[in-house]
């Protein structure tokens, strides 16, 4: 069995104005079956994908924001949101979906999947990856 690779999915675009957010999430969910070491990075307008209270009924497009909540069930729990991107947009973690996962090694304790990281921390995360998907 070949070694696990570190896969990073980079999201830099806002949801709904284009399809990249939805279709990149579809890649992440399918990719979960491959049991690699998966991380997601939300940078620039990508942070908007995780906003709470999205209501798309008025624009008539699919509201897929609740799908992010399923990521924990797929063992995808390394979700990095860039602090600078949030701050430039007047946002904080409180504006974002409360994504969690259950740690089976810790009595199924519910933990936060989202880590707000500095640019420096994200730089180091990027350097460690084997494969980077951008959309």
């Amino acid at each position: 069995m070949s070694a696990t690779k570190k896969l990073l999915y980079v999201n830099r675009k806002a949801p709904h104005g284009s399809i990249y957010a939805l279709e990149s999430l579809e890649v992440v969910l399918i990719g979960a079956a491959f049991e690699q070491d998966v991380s997601l990075a939300f940078i620039d307008d990508g942070v908007y994908q995780l906003m709470l209270n999205q209501d798309t009924s008025g624009i008539g497009v699919k509201n897929f924001s609740s799908t992010y909540k399923a990521l924990g069930d797929y063992d995808i729990n390394q979700i990095y949101v860039e602090k600078e991107s949030l701050e430039l947009r007047g946002l904080s973690k409180e504006n974002l979906l409360p994504l969690t996962w259950e740690d089976e090694d810790d009595d199924w304790a519910e933990k936060d999947s989202i880590q707000v990281v500095s640019s420096k921390e994200l730089t180091d995360i990027i350097e460690k990856q084997d494969v980077i998907f951008s959309f």
């Binding site: 730089t123 180091d124 494969v131 951008s134």
Partner: protein, 102 residues
């Protein structure tokens, strides 16, 4: 393990250059392709930023994209090396990974 960072959009259209410069580790490489080629020119509003980048990163530009846009290779910021598509492939093999800042 330095990464090859590829930027393809004009710095006057999108923030990809700024985001890349914020998140690329010193010692990695930056390659300008397609419309990002405009970032290579002296005397633009981003020239100082790109000039500073040349000190921190190995910076390259795809020559066919420069020629296509009528840009003069004598007007590119010092320290930026021009490559063709084979050079692009070669860079991808030399760095440990590739990140496209779309």
């Amino acid at each position: 393990m330095p990464v090859l960072h590829i930027i393809n959009k004009s710095p006057f259209e999108k923030n990809s250059l700024d985001t890349c410069l914020r998140l690329a580790k010193t010692g990695s490489a930056i390659l300008f392709i397609e419309d990002a080629i405009y970032a290579t020119q002296k005397n633009t509003a981003v020239a100082a930023k790109v000039d500073a980048a040349v000190g921190k990163y190995s910076v390259y530009a795809l020559k066919p994209d420069l020629d296509a846009r009528g840009l003069d290779k004598n007007e590119i910021i010092d320290g930026i090396s021009l490559v063709d598509y084979e050079g692009f492939v070669q860079l991808a093999t030399e760095y440990s990974g590739v990140q496209s800042w779309l």
